[in-house]
Amino acid sequence: EDKVVQSPLSLVVHEGDTVTLNCSYEVTNFRSLLWYKQEKKAPTFLFMLTSSGIEKKSGRLSSILDKKELSSILNITATQTGDSAIYLCAAVRGGGNKLTFGTGTQLKVEL
C-alpha cells in the first residue's frame, strides 16, 4: 500500500524564522509529489514536483524532490503569521488519479 509520512507533525516558530517541512513516500510507480496548504477550509495547491533536484519556487516558499531518497522538503523563509496552516504533501502513482496524502504538518507562526 502506498504510504506518505510527514515530519514534524507540528511546529511553532516566530515570525521571521525559516522552516523546513519534510515528506517521505513509498509509492509504487511514483509519478509526482504535490504540496498543499490548508488553512481553515479547502487545501490549496502549492507545488507539483516530478523531477529530482529541480527546485520549485513561489515567493518565500520553495520545494525540491529527491527521488533517490524518496523525499521532498518544503522551505518557508521569513515566515509570517499568515503562513500558519497545515501543510500537506501527497504522492501520485503512475497511471492513476489517486493522491495519497501524508498526515500533514501543522505550522503555527507567532509574533
Binding site: 487545501p43 495547491f45 500537506l88 501520485v92 492513476g96 493522491l99 500533514g104
Partner: protein, 115 residues
C-alpha cells in the same frame, strides 16, 4: 465564481439517519473525487468518477454511495449514519491526470457531525 462548491457546509444529524452531500464544479474538469478528512486531519480518498464513470472505489462501507448524474456533479449519499462517519468530506476535481499537469481543486468541505 466558486470553482468547486459543496452543499451543505455543515451537517449535524442523528445516528441512523440517511443524508446526502452535493458537489458541483464549473471548471469543465473530467474527474471528480470524494475525500474524507478525519479529526487528525488525515485526507483519504473514497471515490473517483471520470466523466460519470466510477474509476476509484476505495475500501469504504457500502453505506456510502456516490452518484454522478453528469461530469460536473458528484453527490455522496450516506445511509444509516454512524458516529465514526463524523469528519470533513471534501469534493475535488481535476483535468487530465493529476500529478502530470496539475493537482486537484478542492471544494471548501462539508463538516458532518453525527450525534
Amino acid at each position: 465564481d466558486t470553482a468547486v462548491s459543496q452543499t451543505p457546509k455543515y451537517l449535524v444529524t442523528q445516528m441512523g439517519n440517511d443524508k446526502s452531500i452535493k458537489c458541483e464544479q464549473n471548471l469543465g474538469h473530467d474527474t471528480m473525487y470524494w475525500y474524507k478528512q478525519d479529526s487528525k486531519k488525515f485526507l483519504k480518498i473514497m471515490f473517483s468518477y471520470n466523466n460519470k464513470e466510477l474509476i476509484i472505489n476505495e475500501t469504504v462501507p457500502n453505506r456510502f454511495s456516490p452518484k454522478s448524474p453528469d461530469k460536473a456533479h458528484l453527490n455522496l449519499h450516506i445511509n444509516s449514519l454512524e458516529l465514526g462517519d463524523s469528519a470533513v468530506y471534501f469534493c475535488a476535481s481535476s483535468q487530465g491526470t493529476p500529478g502530470l499537469n496539475y493537482g486537484y481543486t478542492f471544494g471548501s468541505g462539508t463538516r458532518l457531525t453525527v450525534v
